[in-house]
Amino acid sequence: MQEERFEELAGDITVERSITLPADPDTIWERLTDENLVGDWMEGDVSIEARPGGAIIMTPAEGTPVWGTVEEVVPGRRLQWSWRTDDGLPTQVEIELERVEDGTTLTVRETLLPWTITGLPPQWGGSPFPRAFLSAAA
């Protein structure tokens, strides 16, 4: 049992989920990137600038805010960002949409970033995210 558990972890530390939704990719994309819609299903206030380098900030109803940077945007196809909480581990989230016969299959992968082991990436300078920015965004 212990060995099985270890083998399971020996690859990338990634969580993956997939769901097929009865709508076309553009409809799903709107729910991923429209700030008026994304918070409804993400469980919190979400601010997202859907362009590479844009900011993403989620303030959940309970718990600490999560913030980061949008990395890849292919409308109707693919959205990727990296984020972290003030006291948590940085992760990368990839969402892919694929048109299928009865709608759209959405696949999400959340992966622990390699630089978790070496500290924060250079663009974050290892310093805490400015609280003022969080309040301004809320």
């Binding site: 212990q2 270890f6 083998e7 530390i13 989920r17 729910r31 993400m42 006291d87």
Partner: protein, 101 residues
């Protein structure tokens, strides 16, 4: 809170192989491990020190050497992290699905 040193220990491929050998092959000394791997005893010792710091191995004296045993306990934190993240996405995707139907 997730211990960063556990992830650090798991993120290095060579260190992961050292740990994998202990997990699957049973307790071993640094000399035994280096004989089975293409790295020096000194390098193995360094990796074992990192694994020890993360609590992933236990040390036992074996004559003039130290024998290392795999300790899976800290991996429970990694499993719990993955379970939490998975549960969160299950809830989110459930809500997304309901918002569309």
């Amino acid at each position: 809170m997730i211990p960063h040193d556990v992830f650090a220990a798991l993120a290095d491929p060579t260190r992961l192989e050292v740990l994998s050998r202990l997990a699957n092959g049973g307790p071993a000394t640094a000399t035994e491990l280096s004989a089975a791997m293409p790295i020096s005893r000194q390098a193995v010792t360094k990796h074992l020190a990192a694994l020890d710091a993360a609590g992933l191995v236990e040390r036992h004296a074996a004559g003039r050497e130290v024998r290392y045993t795999f300790d899976p306990e800290p991996l429970g934190d990694v499993v719990r992290w993955a379970e939490n993240v998975g549960d969160t996405w299950d809830r989110r995707l459930g809500r997304l699905s309901r918002s569309i139907e």
